[in-house]
């Protein structure tokens, strides 16, 4: 544990990394994924603890939970001093097209391409290359830096840049570029909204917050020569290469910025160092990228051009069918039947398990959900089979428990669980006997079911649930679809009496489901109001349990308690679908063989795609 390089085993460092990612509003889920990719289960446990601890909480020794056992430790190859080489795309079958053009829509016109100032500028990140990059498995491998090494306690990192990578105008990419760019981001005059991401660098925070006596030159990043970048940090930071590979650490081209100011990322001004360069940007219409031949790995990248017409998500399918785009990544439920029955589209259909669960939460603070009998009655009134098969047209699986199938410690519904959750209208009505609502009468007026705007599938399922509760129990429920952010804020404040909500699993362990969502004693608050001491005890104990059999039993018991109380009604595990034209091959895949489309962390899908003759 004293090896500062094995930072994922050091709670202090994990907590610091979390703080950095919080500075750029990164989702806790993504953070856990990144750490998990490097540190395996130990890393994820600590990452979780770091998230839960929050910034205000007193620094507890190590973590509140014992890290779960390490089933298959991921070899920590990614960020060590000797990283592995970048992936070289493989050969593909079939004849390649002469024009290697890939087309996929952008949903909105980007604000700019200045990732160095604002990583959420909504431009295409392929225009810039960082010192390292993420693989589809979310590990960091070298990019502009060919290698890096830390000092003894990982508080000073030296990056050795490759000498064969150039900006799109022919300037060499040097260590000075990164030094200048990171200082630009930290400069209070730049007013970069997420500068906090770089606060691990020595004096970065002081410079950014304009502490007296701290100047630009005091910031701990220095180009020793053209191709050596030395970064002095505030302390041991074994994870620093992860930050250096994240899009927030992208460089900007100094002469362009100095010449054009805010307009430097317009197509006619921009100079890129990534695998692609911006060549055309007609606002609100289209963004066109072309391969940057001067990028070091350009010879291994097949695509010549990327066209990104600006098409909102509702119109994307039509654009796909009109052959305006090659990849549509968000398909509506209302088009699913036709897509699947269409002889052509069905061949191009790609479905993804979202590894999550949609569930209904009756908050026991509010009438009538304060009565356990009512909650149990509701659990028996919802016909999950019908929702999955009819309403969602099979693009989901039935859920009775929280952990989705395919994840370790998935609880196969046995008689006991079905006893508590099965669809049975008579049983549902029987539960109301003796309550004020016996016979489906006297329900309080103004009952509501709330969920956030998240596409048509959850909405259709919610409508079905409302109807089932009405038919079986006589409840009259209004259906409220709220603004996403506001709805989640209200959920965390426990202001929503009946919430229809989902949880996407971050990493394959039930610590992430039953414990993460329902443990009620976390210092930073809890997602749902319901709490149960025995449940808390069991899930906490399960986290530290080494024996898989015993661990399963603990989770099983906890799940039974929760279902017996009907604190949540689990309904289905969602899937999603997209469409990829058949001539796009060599898709990026993770080590399980699953196609990984571009995502906040893994950005470099264009490096993989090859276009067949068509």
């Amino acid at each position: 544990m004293h090896d500062k390089l094995r930072w994922w085993e050091d709670p202090e460092q994990v907590a610091l990394l979390w703080k950095r990612f919080q500075a750029i509003n990164m989702d806790r889920r993504e953070f856990v994924r990144i750490v998990g990719a490097i540190g395996g289960a130990t890393g994820t446990a600590l990452a979780l603890a770091a998230c839960q601890r929050g910034e205000e909480a007193p620094p507890t020794p190590a973590v509140a939970v014992t890290p779960p056992p390490v089933p298959t430790p991921t070899p920590p190859v990614a960020v060590g001093p000797t990283p592995t080489a970048a992936p070289t795309p493989t050969e593909v079958e079939g004849e390649l097209a002469e024009d290697q053009v890939f087309r996929t829509n952008m949903e909105r016109d980007p604000q700019s391409f200045d990732f160095n100032r604002d990583l959420y500028c909504e431009g295409d990140p392929a225009c810039f290359a960082m010192l390292g990059m993420f693989t589809p498995d979310l590990e960091v491998v070298p990019d502009i830096a060919e290698r890096w090494e830390p000092n003894e306690d990982a508080s000073v990192w030296t990056f050795y840049l490759r000498k064969d990578s150039y900006w799109s105008n022919g300037d060499p990419v040097t260590a000075h570029d990164y030094e200048w760019s990171w200082k630009r981001q930290l400069d209070p005059a730049t007013a970069a909204p997420y500068a906090g991401f770089l606060y691990d660098i020595k004096n970065a925070e002081a410079f950014n917050t304009q502490q007296p006596g701290v100047t630009r030159d005091d910031v701990g990043v220095k180009a020793l020569d053209d191709y050596t970048l030395q970064v002095t940090l505030e302390g041991p930071r074994g994870y620093f290469p992860i930050l250096a590979a994240y899009i927030a650490a992208a460089p900007a081209h100094r002469p362009s910025v100095e010449k054009f100011g805010d307009k430097w990322t317009e197509a006619e001004n921009i100079v890129c160092n990534g695998p692609f360069k911006l060549v055309r940007w007609e606002h609100d219409k289209i963004v066109v990228l072309e391969k940057n031949e001067k990028y070091w790995n350009a010879k291994n990248i097949t695509l010549q051009r990327v066209e990104r017409p600006i098409i909102p998500s509702e119109a994307a399918l039509q654009a796909y069918e009109n052959n305006e785009i090659d990849w549509m990544w968000r398909g509506p439920l209302g088009q699913l039947d036709r897509v699947r029955s269409d002889p052509k589209l069905s061949q191009e259909y790609k479905q993804f398990n979202l590894f999550g669960t949609w569930y209904l939460v009756p908050d026991p603070q509010y009438e009538p959900y304060n009565l356990k009998e009512v909650r149990r009655a509701m659990a028996h009134a919802i016909d999950r089979e019908t929702i999955v098969k009819q309403v969602l047209k099979g693009l989901a699986t039935v859920a009775y428990t929280f952990t989705p199938p395919g994840m370790p410690y998935f609880i196969e519904p046995d008689d006991k669980i079905l006893e508590l959750t099965e669809y049975n209208p008579d049983k549902a009505r029987a539960w109301l006997k003796g309550t004020p609502y016996e016979g489906g009468k006297n329900w309080p007026r103004g009952l509501t079911l709330t969920h956030r705007e998240e596409g048509d599938a959850p909405k259709a399922a919610a409508a079905a649930i409302i109807q089932m509760l009405k038919e079986v129990l006589g409840m009259e429920i209004e259906h409220i679809i709220g603004e996403p952010r506001e709805t989640y804020e209200r959920m965390w404040k426990h202001e929503i009496p009946l919430m229809w909500v989902r949880w996407y699993v971050d990493y394959p362990d039930p610590a992430n489901t039953l414990f993460q969502v329902w443990y009620s004693k976390a210092p930073t608050g809890r997602r749902h109001y319901w709490s149960n001491d025995e449940f808390d005890r069991l899930t906490l104990q399960a986290n530290g349990e080494q024996d898989p059999q015993n661990r399963y039993q603990l989770y099983y018991q906890a799940q039974l308690i929760q279902l017996e109380e009907a604190a949540a009604i689990y309904v289905y595990n969602p899937w999603n679908y997209g469409l990829m034209k058949p001539w796009v091959t060599n898709l990026p895949r993770n080590r399980n063989g699953d196609f990984m489309p571009e995502w906040n962390i893994f950005l470099r899908h264009y490096d993989y795609y090859k276009i067949l003759k068509h």
Binding site: E314, V391, I466
Partner: protein, 308 residues
């Protein structure tokens, strides 16, 4: 011909005058109504608006099913024209026909209710500004300018958030934000009318301002007002749809035409009937109001009478 004179011609003339006076008395409105009756398009509009209104009022009787009844065995079923679901079912398995009939309630209420409020606010303010002029006019028009500066949807959202959800709040919100155009228009009409001879004559005859405004100026300004109000109806219907779409309009599962069309338009390639039927009804309603509005204008404005 003169009515004064003596002798035989004089008597005959007096008889003429008597006959003339014995004719049934016709007011301006009655006159207008008879002209309206003669206008076939306007009558079509009137009949359709009446039908839609009746449909809205008697929705509980007319609709074959409740609007929220789901048939899980018939999800997104295409129209069969006869049988159980003649116009098909929506994405959740609810009868389209029933939802369309029920949707008339919300759409008609919002469309008409909002226009009543628009009329009640917009016309008095515009009339006052146009008739009185001077400082009052300047003050009111600056106020109108301020109101114009707000993006309407944003303002509606603000009001909805303050008032809470519910049908009456929707038309209050749309009405309170939608009157500015009408106020400006009324003012412009009044400014022009104020200098006309008949108004000057009325003033010279000692008519009170109230009488001048209501009896002399308003009827003459009515035609553009009616046309604006008529076009405001479909606009209000669409605003309601936008509100429902972002979740602060009519709460689900209550249907409205605007919402049905708005939500399902993205499925037009898969299920054409889902957006098409409500769109047809909205178009029909809008057309009916337009015909009716045109007819009213022609009937009320003697200047256009000859063209009929």
């Amino acid at each position: 011909m003169t009515t004064t004179g003596a002798g035989a011609t004089g008597r005959a003339e007096r008889l003429d005058a008597l006959v003339w006076a014995a004719r049934p008395h016709r007011t301006l409105w009655r006159d207008a109504f008879s002209r309206l009756l003669a206008n076939r398009l306007a009558m079509f509009g009137l009949v359709m608006v009446t039908l839609f209104t009746l449909m809205a009022i008697f929705a509980p009787v007319l609709a074959p099913y409740p609007y929220d009844r789901i048939d899980f065995s018939a999800i997104s079923q295409f129209p069969t024209w006869t049988g159980k679901y003649p116009l098909g079912t929506d994405l959740v398995g609810r009868d389209m026909l029933s939802r369309l009939i029920w949707g008339a309630q919300v759409s008609m209420a919002v469309g008409l209710g909002a226009q009543v409020i628009v009329f009640l606010i917009g016309v008095p303010i515009g009339a006052l500004a146009g008739y009185v002029g001077g400082r009052v006019d300047a003050f009111l028009m600056r106020f109108v300018d301020v109101m114009y500066a707000f993006p309407q949807l944003l303002f509606v959202i603000l009001i909805m958030t303050a008032l809470g959800r519910g049908m009456q709040n929707i038309f209050i919100a749309i009405g309170v934000t939608g009157w500015v155009t009408l106020a400006r228009l009324t003012r412009a009409e009044f400014l022009a009318l104020r200098e006309r001879d008949f108004v000057l004559a009325a003033r010279a005859a000692g008519a009170s301002p109230w009488r001048i405004i209501t009896r002399h100026m308003l009827p003459n300004a009515l035609s553009p007002i009616i046309v604006t109000l008529t076009f405001g109806v479909p606009q209000a219907i669409f605003t309601e749809a936008a509100l429902s779409f972002i979740g602060i309009g009519i709460p689900e599962p209550r249907p409205s035409w605007g919402k049905m069309a708005g939500e399902t338009q993205q499925y037009i390639t898969s299920y054409w009937y889902m957006p098409i039927f409500p769109t047809i009804l909205i178009a029909l309603l809008m057309l009916s109001f337009t015909f009716l509005g045109d007819g009213l204008r022609d009937a009320l404005d003697p200047r256009t009478r000859k063209r009929n």
